[in-house]
Amino acid sequence: MKAKDLLGRHGEDLAVGYLETLGMLIVERNWRCSEGEIDVVALDGDVLVIAEVKTRRSLDYGHPFEAVGPDKLARLHRLGAAWCRDRELRMPLRRVDVIAVVDDGGGSPVVEHLKGVG
């Protein structure tokens, strides 16, 4: 595994831990299809949450949130629909969350969470 993938994996682990503390139920991680990948699929009550996790070691190249542009957001919404079709589920209540993890390795990673974007 490359270093950047390791960092991403580490960030996703932190994000999942964080979502669980919020009382969300983690349904699936790293679901892939031809259109792309969903980092985390979770349930917040009866709302299906499609979560994108962005991890950075520092803010030198911008904040993780800034890496999620309009194209990426649109794709996340499409992936949410694709996931429902794949699982043959009807989940009318869906939202996309973005989670930013900044971990400089100093032992105090910062996790920020934006609910229901785009």
Partner: protein, 514 residues
Amino acid sequence: MALGRTWSVALVGLNGYMVEVEADIGQSLPAFVILGLPDAALNEARERIRSAAKNSGIPLSRRKITANLIPASLPKRGSGFDLAVAMAALRAANDIRPTGRTVFIAELGLDGRLRPVRGILPAVMAAVQAGYPDVVVAQANLAEASLVPGANVSGYRTLARLVLDFGADPQELALDFEPDDADDDPGASGEAAPCPDMADVSGQGEARRALEVAAAGAHHLLLTGPPGAGKTMLAERLPGILPDLEDHESMEVTAIHSLCGLPSSQVQLLRRPPFENPHHTATAAAIIGGGSGLPRPGAASRAHRGVLFLDEAPEYERRVLDALRQPLESGELVIHRSAGTAAYPARFQLVLAANPCPCGKASGKGLDCTCTPIMRRRYLARMSGPLLDRVDIQLQVERVSLADFGQGGAEEDTASVARRVRDARQRQVQRLGPLGLETNSQVSGRVLRGELRLAPGVTRILDHSLERGILTARGYDRVLRLAWTLADLGLRDAPDANDVGQALALRQATAAAA
């Protein structure tokens, strides 16, 4: 509460309107939106503000920032809102304390320096009038902004220094950054060239006299004569013999020139009457003001309280000349464009210069002239009757004779003529002050034939001309105005028949020749 509020000023022409800037930070992906009809320059402020804040050590929130400029329906232009938007965004993030009624007007550089903007003088005047005397501007604008009486202006060089004074945490701020002011001074051109002296004009006694009368009563002037007679030379010397501007005039003139972008080395109240000398290919928009979006002042407004000199007047487009009729009557130009209407003052003294015909040789006996009579008539007819009717003094300037040319240096200099002009102006203020007027050229026909009515014997020659149809009713009034100025220069309390006769001669010189 993630909401910040600051104040700034939007200029529409010379009128400033207070603009409230709100900034809201929303829980959403990073974005920066500016609402309230921003133009391209103001929309680019988003990038300037983000970089300036980051490089000042006080980065903006990584969330969605929405800035709203109120009233939303008023179009906002230019970079002067940068600072107000930045301060509102920083306040919304609680990085600084509330800024209250302080007004912010400055452009931001990417490195966090505050840059000067145009039109700071009218903007600060508007803020003070609206009851917002505390104004923050760029250091390079401080001198100009401080000209406004009653304003409490502070100048800053960098955003970091400014936010420090508004309670930002000094730990992270880039306080050791001190930009060099010289960088902001591209237009430094040194002192304005001094006005040329009357002593340089050889001979031309009649023309010198006409120039003095024009200056004393603020009368418009037409000079016709062959090339090389000295028409341009005379016109350029008119501003020199005009009196200094009064305080309120000085503010008006400085405000217009501030809007056009004063070189910062000249940031002081303009005390001398301006002189505008546009080229004869100038368009109507260049002379009376215009441009896309909100209209900018043209040469006529830049010549406000000074001299607008149109050399080779018949070469101008007729449309352009006729566009001057409105400001000649009202002293104001109202210009409509898509983004709004602007009114600029334009109470200038008009000086027209013209050759007698296209080839320029038709003066005197005109034996060398190659123009046909039709060509000659058409040439001068390009200056329309209604325009010339507003020109009090119409003078023919002849080539200087050898006798006059030989004795150089014997002529009166600008200072002595200016002294007589000043005295004549004072007499006018004393007489016309109670009527709310300043110069003879402003007196209406009703007043001339009412409060200032002359004895019937004095105006006999005029009545005769009017009867014979040589003078229009408006022309009659113009001659009376000139007669009053001649009396003022001669230190007489009212014009006598001689003054009236001279006035008629000054007015009719070309009319008789044409």
